[in-house]
């Protein structure tokens, strides 16, 4: 987790919603998918993940249900709501805009000449 995890953490909600647009899922599976997708460069802490779940649930973006597994492990599945889908689209648009702006703003066209300075 050497990459800028603080920067990514601000988008935990979007990441979770993006996963749930594909299929209903549970905490560990989402985290595992994230690891696989990022080639083990990023994973969420349990605490971050579940704080996000609670936040999204109280906002009405996701809902949860207990799945009945035959293997014995009872898992709580999360499912995205229509409101969550809308929120996801909006978050994604916002990120695209922000990304474009940040790219423009942090680009430096001129190299400072250190030898000239005092």
């Amino acid at each position: 987790m050497s990459i800028a995890s603080d920067l990514i953490r601000g988008h935990t909600d979007t990441i979770i919603l993006a996963h749930l647009t594909e299929e209903d899922s549970y905490g560990y599976k989402i985290n595992k998918d994230i690891q696989v997708k990022t080639n083990n460069q990023y994973e969420l802490k349990e605490a971050t993940l579940y704080t996000a779940f609670r936040r999204l649930e109280s906002a009405g973006y996701i809902c949860s249900y207990w799945g009945d597994e035959n293997t014995g492990a009872r898992r709580r599945y999360y499912s995205i709501t229509p409101e969550g889908d809308l929120a996801y689209q909006q978050m994604k648009t916002e990120w695209d805009e922000a990304k474009g702006l940040i790219d423009i703003l942090i680009k430096s066209s001129k190299k400072r000449e250190d030898t000239n300075g005092r």
């Binding site: 560990y28 802490k45 349990e46 579940y50 609670r54 009872r74 709580r76």
Partner: protein, 222 residues
């Protein structure tokens, strides 16, 4: 090793009230840790390393646990102390009026004695006053604000249960005291009316039976 993970989660949640929400959250996270632990073992890690990796993946739980406290206290259903105080004042007024009516119910027969109304109107007025007073007491008991659970914890459930049994017992006591007041009045009136003192004591036996029936109905309703 799963027990060790469970023990670790118990330790993390030691300060959290055992509400349904928090217990479910604990189970959910524990299940994830167990999954992770097994995955690590499958990758060839030693049990100790797998346990350490699983525990390290939990991260900082403070915010999540604080969130649990926040959501439980904001139940919204609980009644404020102000409302309780208002309810208490209202109930004091109702009880006072009821007791006053019991005392004053003897006035119509006294005031109307030796008039043409003595036989019919006086007892009727008296019984109406008694009936209204009894109705006031019962109404008061049924509308009193109750203790509502502020969250799902066992302590709150116990408090609510205690309050419920307490209030039903209080209601029963109110009804039975009203009943006995009425019975004594009936006994005296009928005795003076008929002058059959040798038999009218039976009214008290009837009173005991009526009280028993009321109690039985009360128990059945619960």
């Amino acid at each position: 090793m799963e027990d060790k993970l469970r023990a670790y989660m118990d330790h993390l949640f030691r300060d959290v009230k055992p509400t349904r929400k928090s217990v479910e959250l604990k189970e959910e996270i524990l299940q994830n840790l167990v999954d992770k632990y097994h995955d690590m073992m499958a990758e060839g890690k030693t049990p100790e390393a797998a346990y350490n990796i699983a525990v390290a993946s939990i991260g900082d739980m403070d915010e999540l646990l604080a969130g649990l406290h926040g959501t439980t206290s904001g139940g919204g259903l609980s009644i404020t102390t102000e409302e309780l105080e208002k309810g208490r004042r209202k109930s004091a007024v109702l009880i006072s009026i009821a007791v006053m009516m019991y005392i004053m119910s003897i006035l119509p027969p006294i005031l109307l004695s030796d008039t043409v109304f003595e036989n019919r109107l006086a007892p009727a007025l008296m019984f109406i006053m008694i009936a209204v007073a009894t109705a006031l007491i019962i109404y008061n008991n049924m509308t009193k604000p109750r203790y509502h659970r502020t969250d799902d914890s066992i302590v709150e459930e116990f408090k609510e249960w205690q309050e419920q049994t307490d209030s039903s017992r209080r209601a029963m006591r109110a009804i039975s005291s009203a009943l006995w007041a009425v019975i004594v009045v009936i006994y005296i009136i009928i005795s003076f009316w008929t002058m059959a003192w040798h038999i009218t004591w039976v009214i008290f036996l009837i009173g005991v039976a009526v009280e028993g029936i009321l109690k039985a109905i009360f128990e059945l309703k619960k």
